[in-house]
Symmetry: C3
Amino acid sequence: MKKIKIRAYEVLEKVRLKKPVVHHLTNWVTIETCANVVKVLGASPVMAHAPEEVAEMAGIASGLVLNIGTLTVDFIEAMKIAAKAANKKKIPVLLDVCGAGATHLRDRKSFELLDEVKIDIVKGNASEIARIAGEEVKTRGVDAGKVKKDLLLLAKGLALARKCTVVVTGKEDIVTDGERLYIVKNGHPLMTHIVGTGCMAASVIGTFASVNEDMVYASTCGLVCFEIAAELAAAGSRGPGQFKEKLYDNLYHLDKNTIDTLQKVEA
Amino acid sequence: MKKIKIRAYEVLEKVRLKKPVVHHLTNWVTIETCANVVKVLGASPVMAHAPEEVAEMAGIASGLVLNIGTLTVDFIEAMKIAAKAANKKKIPVLLDVCGAGATHLRDRKSFELLDEVKIDIVKGNASEIARIAGEEVKTRGVDAGKVKKDLLLLAKGLALARKCTVVVTGKEDIVTDGERLYIVKNGHPLMTHIVGTGCMAASVIGTFASVNEDMVYASTCGLVCFEIAAELAAAGSRGPGQFKEKLYDNLYHLDKNTIDTLQKVEA
Amino acid sequence: MKKIKIRAYEVLEKVRLKKPVVHHLTNWVTIETCANVVKVLGASPVMAHAPEEVAEMAGIASGLVLNIGTLTVDFIEAMKIAAKAANKKKIPVLLDVCGAGATHLRDRKSFELLDEVKIDIVKGNASEIARIAGEEVKTRGVDAGKVKKDLLLLAKGLALARKCTVVVTGKEDIVTDGERLYIVKNGHPLMTHIVGTGCMAASVIGTFASVNEDMVYASTCGLVCFEIAAELAAAGSRGPGQFKEKLYDNLYHLDKNTIDTLQKVEA
């Protein structure tokens, strides 16, 4: 692995110009936060979960973000309908396996989604991804638990097995399709002191993937932009409250020079 | 049309003194934001959607706000029960046709509500209102799409057809009952860079209508106050994050002199 | 009653060290705010309501917070499953009787919960607690209505009848198990000008109770910390918007010296 430079700004600029509609079926905790981060990027979030309309909504969308954070059985069924419509239209589908490894329901429904529809990007923290990769780990609710095996190998194996891009967020983020591999080393500890940064990362990645066909690259660019904004937001913040507000402000104003200067990516 | 002065502060003052309970059945994205804007105005929001209690809740409320942003079939049925109770009690009912024109479900359920209960105020952006007025337009999820016909005529026609007040939000807002017409030219572009400003406007209007029987006038006064607060909030804000925080603060402190000086209304 | 000193910081420190998972079944309005306040305290919130997983989630949790703010009949059934699992594991269960006294559904479901599962802490505002104690009062939606009888006696009676700790929030908070009694006089009027401070208080208390077996003491310590942070946040805030942001920041940074100096507790 060695340090490389990516053109993350180009993808961000494409988001701002194309303003893609990004359809979400997400959790009820951070739903406004997810919508807001998409909006602040310059794109157009739409949150809709009625089984009668999710397929039609996918029709006007350029990307689909699924997050099982507050799943119910019915809600997962609506996700499947939305994902099948997205698959048909060939727009990217991201699945945030939020809380996988915490309960059997979350594991089972994550596997169902992966088996029944095409997921282009699977995103989670270390223990969530380890669980989806088949390990016996325990997630602490929605916060990461301990993973014993080599996370890189688990992520690559999952990507190959599921033919998708895998994103593991943490102090260092892993993005891989099983062959290519990017490590993003941006970010700030304050991100773990508010709820929603993981969900926001998923929405940002889903938005970037909506305008760029290379999922591994789009995911990496999205993470780089999001986490640079977090670094800028954390600098001089009084605490987690002000940090979140500034995170929006810094994402909104993020420019090429800042991204080029601050990015920490290895490949 | 020429510039006029309205006494928006008088209605705001009435809200602060009477502290009306404003019942909402709204979307899950901006539900806290809607409740908060009502609270910051000095009124008392209540969010309740169980079919077993919505009629009783209308009984202690002075106004009802319906927003179909994350509708389901069951949720619309609860709205109908709530609205019928509100109609019986003769308290104002506002319907935000959020996302009408994006899916057939939203169109159909909007028409059902308009047909089956008395809606006093219909509120939406340009393409949502055009759709409800019978035009074939496409809303971009919950963001406005393009409308070809004259929006003023569409709004007036809808108001007359449905015997209600119609509010179209945008760079310039239209408020009409088909005969009287107000144009509100306050507001700030930052309002379109966070989610929830449209929903907040609906909650503000619903709150103002709860203390003032003249729906056209109350809606106009509500928009004027909300958008002046937005102008003040935007001045000197770092970005959309700080803008939202300051929007609450400026609404909370809004005074007569500021409203009288900054209002831009035509009639 | 006379002024006493409690070691609230010790319990806060225990929260920060143990980082308990606090499971919530709460309302859709302030769900993110509740999760965030738990996170900012240093603990780990998890929001999960699917009947298939709530018992298992209680298995990894150290405390359970129930809030009926946007109840439905099904949601209450999920609460019962979660609470029974929590009872079996002997972790504390807090019930926020949000909106009790506003509708018959809320009263009936509150009583059902109290009858069918073991609730360790019942929390509400004056009219909510009065209603649950058997008085005929009317709550203004989710805001407190007037209570004629002596609130202290009502709270004590409820605690004895239900064998639980009762917390009544207001300008002065009451914490009692029917025998012991604490009055917390911290707090700030701005707390009543945003939505969610009552729900946050419940989540804070539930978090403190997760690391301290003495429910009366843990509740008092939680309220003291939360309300001191609110006092600090209010000082110099532009208004309710900035107040909420600063509330998180001040909770996050709260230290022993500040708590020891500012606490206003009587026993």
